[in-house]
């Protein structure tokens, strides 16, 4: 037994063939949260990144601060697939509580690196085990016991470095990057990684899974969607932010505050922004409306429970026509649900947030670039449409690390929408706030403080006429609501248009997906093609839908709507919107267990439905 445990990598039993697997596998690291494995995992991922190989990382963590199981999965994919992959070929088992279960889930031929005292080696004979004496290895590197707990993690990075053929120079660069080039931290972590590497080199052969350099990452960045959204918001010229902390949206605001402090202060320190940590989400959205009414570019970020609290104010924003940008980094609901898991299940409730006839644009980023882009564009959309706009990201996008092309500086000027200045008023004499003078359903507004005696209008959530005066007249009410509907039609062309991501000549099957599901969708398209199912794939980027969505459905026989919720919420929105005769074409691919979507889920669901 003991010899098995420390023996060099050996063939797994039952005849599994041992061909080398290059740049196409996943590594899962199982630890407990609060143990500091995050840095080690980030270094591991960046090492692969620096070797030019497509890579992605998914962190599965509990809603708790310390002591509970957490898993980090790194997918290495020469084909550039970055969605979650069902199985991991490499397991780093650091958590006694889950180790047995984690090992049991592996496919034959997998590799397990584990903490020696866990004694996992006897659990299976069809996987390869590598016992590492972490405590022994860490002691010489880390003098202080407190540090040891953290550095144990860097040791498995080193071990994997040897087993998977990672470049040590890349690994060291990754460490230095991780610790912002801080000398002491870098050195000690490099030492730990080396200790792991050397121990492994001395005792084991590399395994058949290996990373070989490619050139796919030149110029690219590694970033999470919340950071990307924060950068976008910065370049959107945000001037007012209010927020209330909530997982998984908090880091968007926290990153943004750091960016603002650095990039948006005058030399004398005067800020060009105001941030208020609100007492709750009711207050957060209320402050955004107040600031926006006053003329600021105002935003907040939250998650499901916060959205549920914003219903009344959102209705006010819709009806009084006040711009607002609300990020919803979706987690798993309903209620508190699973705060650290991912889902796309706030579509229906957001679309119809507020009593009465009300509906709201939603932007649906799928990538880091779009988190950035919609970060600034959301303001343009909100101010152009004079209405609250929701950006629906999710935990998978927001809190996981993704490789991305760098972001592009916005080409256009800020679009502040229809605002009348003092000079305009001098010329016009006055204005009617809610009159559709341009035929697009959008009126002109003025900002408080405009120094003209006719500048003022009275913003209210009660019935009003074109001049913003209180009115209970049925015709004023209907006029106004009809104009708002007309504005909704205008919105279809103002929000980001869908993207035809994939076409196969003559394909009868359409796929519609959006947001973080995109990455599984592109992979599924390839998998389906291999199974002989030709598909076209349209990616939605916003609600209300652009007319091309209806066209896409019209030109296909069957259209699969892929989404991460139980109730087929996007499908329902499509049903409401498309021509009634098209509804029969719509089918559903659903995934809602809180883990990121896998390509196989889509592939097998579509294959099954197509087989019928």
């Amino acid at each position: 037994m003991a010899s098995t445990e420390v023996a060099p990598g050996h063939s797994a039993g039952n005849g599994v063939k041992q061909e080398p697997v290059v740049n196409n596998f996943s590594i899962q690291v199982a630890t407990v949260n609060g143990s500091g494995s995050q840095s080690a995992n980030a270094v591991l991922m960046r090492t692969v990144f620096l070797m030019g190989v497509p890579v992605s990382g998914k962190n599965l963590f509990p809603s708790n601060i310390a002591g509970l199981p957490t898993w980090f999965t790194i997918r290495v994919s020469k084909d550039g697939y970055v969605a979650k992959k069902r199985d991991s070929e490499i397991l780093v088992a650091m958590n006694a509580e889950t180790a047995a279960e984690d090992v049991a889930k592996l496919k034959p031929g997998s590799v397990v690196v584990y903490d020696e005292p866990l004694k996992l080696g006897a659990l299976r004979t069809d996987v390869e085990f590598f016992a590492i004496p972490f405590d022994k290895l860490v002691a010489p590197v880390a003098p202080e016991p407190k540090l040891r707990k953290l550095l144990r993690n860097m040791i498995y990075v080193g071990v994997l470095g040897h087993l998977l053929h990672l470049e040590m120079t890349a690994l060291e660069t990754a460490i230095s990057k991780q610790f912002h080039g801080k000398k002491r931290a870098t050195e000690i972590n490099v030492a730990a990684a080396r200790a792991g590497y050397e121990y492994a080199a001395a005792n084991f052969q590399p395994v058949r899974y290996c990373v070989q350099p490619m050139n796919e990452n030149a110029g690219k960045i590694i970033i999470d969607g919340n950071a990307a959204g924060a950068i976008g918001t910065l370049f959107g010229g945000v001037t007012f932010i209010s927020w209330y902390p909530i997982t998984p949206s908090s880091s968007l605001i926290e990153d943004l505050m750091d960016l603002l402090k650095e990039h948006r202060r005058a030399p004398d320190g005067t800020p060009s922004f105001g941030v208020v940590q609100a007492e709750d989400e009711l207050a957060a959205i209320g402050m955004v409306l107040g600031a926006s009414w006053a003329g600021a570019r105002a935003m907040t970020a939250t998650a499901g429970p916060g959205i549920s609290l914003m219903g009344e104010f959102t209705g006010l924003g819709y009806y009084a026509e006040i711009p607002a940008v609300v990020w919803n980094v979706q987690r798993v609901g309903p209620s508190t649900g699973l705060p650290t898991r991912t889902q796309q299940a706030d579509l229906l409730s957001t679309a119809f947030l507020s009593h009465g006839d009300a509906k709201h644009p939603m932007l649906l980023p799928c990538s880091m670039k779009e988190c950035f882009e919609f970060g600034w564009r959301a303001f343009d959309v909100a101010e152009r449409l004079q209405t609250p706009v929701f950006v629906l990201s999710d935990l998978d996008l927001g809190m996981n690390n993704w490789v991305s092309e760098p972001f592009e500086y916005p080409l256009d000027k800020l679009d502040r929408g229809k605002v009348l200045s003092k000079e305009d008023l001098d010329r016009l004499g006055g204005f009617a706030r809610y009159k559709d003078v341009d035929g697009d359903g959008i009126g002109w507004r003025t900002l408080p403080g405009t120094p003209h005696p006719n500048a003022a209008w009275f913003a209210r959530g009660s019935g009003h006429n074109e001049r913003a005066l209180y009115s209970e007249r049925p015709e004023d009410y209907v006029n106004n609501m009809d104009r708002l509907n007309h504005k909704w039609e205008t919105a279809r062309d103002v929000v980001p248009a869908p993207v035809l991501e994939h076409t196969t000549p003559g394909a009868k099957v359409g796929i519609i997906a959006f947001g973080s599901s995109h990455w599984a969708a592109v992979e599924a398209v390839d998998q389906l093609a291999k199974q002989g199912i030709a598909t076209d794939y349209l990616r939605l980027r916003a609600y209300p839908f652009h007319k091309t969505v209806a066209e896409f459905i019209a030109t296909h026989d069957r259209v699969y709507v892929v989404e991460q919720n139980r109730d087929a919420q996007m499908l329902q929105l499509l049903k409401m919107d498309v021509n009634a005769v098209e509804v029969v074409k719509l089918r559903s691919v659903l995934h809602y267990d809180g883990h990121p979507l896998e390509a196989e889920t889509i592939t097998s669901s579509i294959a099954k439905q197509e087989a019928k």
């Binding site: 209320g286 107040g290 006053a294 900002l447 005696p453």
Partner: protein, 347 residues
């Protein structure tokens, strides 16, 4: 040259506006409602202080009281929000444009019931604004149910008696951080006028709880918020004289007669008579006096607490000379070089 009858020049204030420039549309509140009297005092105060109406932001929640911003200063922008949530809107507006004078009108239901959470946090932030509670102890607009400022033992027309203690919004405001806290009565023209004028120059949160009888639902025998009850029970702490800084007459008060407080901008308030030595700058003193009043069932009015120098919320944010709302794109969108540098950090 033909002789013309000279048209009398209408009276104007120091910025050349007439009082009519401070009026709003016709009130739709009940005749005799205390809220209407308060609107009148607001009109007068802003007129007399010579505030540019275009530089005023009016805010309110929902209720009879919250309708009143429509009835004063029609030339000022206004945001009539949702029930109990005026503080949030005010906070956003005051930060977005800290150059405006923000005046909010709320009701006792709007503030002390549904709005309590936001009220507390606004007070705590010492947001620069005048926050008026038109306090009648009932929900006027929904037909007279008790609000949370109804006094224990007060009776509705239906005979229902309030058994819960009243929330003292002034005591709360002081406890939480507001820096100008006063109570008045819609029927006490002089006191209310002086307080409002002083409020305009104060730089932090002004909380003005104005007892404002609801003639339709809470003006009967047995109510502790009726005109009659107030006329019989109002106990002003002092007489208040306000001397704005721009007033050329340099009033000299006899030494030892009352208390003289200097406001942030140099304006002065002089408090005389009655409780001559009451020191409105003592937080503990104010809290203690209010706690006593509660025990003695006194309806105390006057300036309870003033801290003219405490930094307001926008002071803490360190905002500059231009309102955030009016910053140009050149200031609010950093250049391409900044994006490039940020991208590098993520490589």
């Amino acid at each position: 040259m033909a002789t013309t009858t000279p048209t009398p020049t209408p009276k104007t204030n120091r910025i050349g506006l007439q009082v009519i420039d401070y009026r709003g549309s016709k009130s739709t509140l009940c005749a005799g409602c205390g809220h209407n009297a308060i609107s009148e005092r607001i009109i007068d105060a802003f007129y007399e202080m010579g505030v540019e109406p275009e530089q005023v932001a009016k805010l309110s929640g929902i209720g009879c009281s919250s309708k009143s911003p429509a009835y004063f200063m029609g030339r000022a922008h206004s945001f009539n929000g949702v029930h109990g949530r005026m503080p949030a809107i005010a906070t956003g507006a005051a930060v977005a444009n800290h150059k405006m004078v923000c005046i909010g009108v709320s009701g006792d239901g709007d503030t002390a019931s549904i709005g309590m959470g936001q009220f507390v946090h606004l007070m705590r932030r010492n947001l620069p604004m005048i926050y008026i509670i038109e306090d009648n102890g009932v929900y006027g607009l929904t037909k007279g149910q008790f609000s949370a400022t109804a006094d224990m033992g007060s009776k509705l027309k239906t005979g229902v008696v309030n058994e819960l203690p009243a929330i003292d919004t002034c005591a709360l405001a002081i406890e939480l951080g507001a820096t100008f806290v006063a109570r008045s009565f819609s029927g006490d023209k002089k006191q209310l006028a002086a307080l409002l004028k002083a409020a305009i120059v104060h730089k932090g949160t002004v909380l003005l709880d104005v007892i404002s009888p609801c003639v339709t639902f809470n003006d009967h025998e047995g109510s502790t918020k009726s005109y009659k009850f107030m006329k019989d029970h109002e106990e002003p702490l002092h007489d208040i004289n306000f001397v704005p800084v721009f007033d050329e007459i340099d009033v000299e008060y006899e030494a030892g007669s009352g208390v003289d407080v200097t406001m942030h901008d140099g304006s002065r308030m002089h408090l005389t008579k009655l409780e001559e030595d009451y020191d409105p700058t003592s937080r503990i003193g104010a809290l203690t006096r209010l706690a006593q009043a509660r025990e003695k069932e006194e309806v105390l009015t006057g300036l309870f607490y003033l801290n003219p120098e405490a930094p307001s919320f926008t002071d803490l944010l360190g905002l500059g000379d231009t309102a955030l709302a009016h910053l140009p794109e050149s200031v609010t969108r950093p250049g391409k070089a900044v994006l490039d540098a940020i991208m590098d950090e993520y490589r």
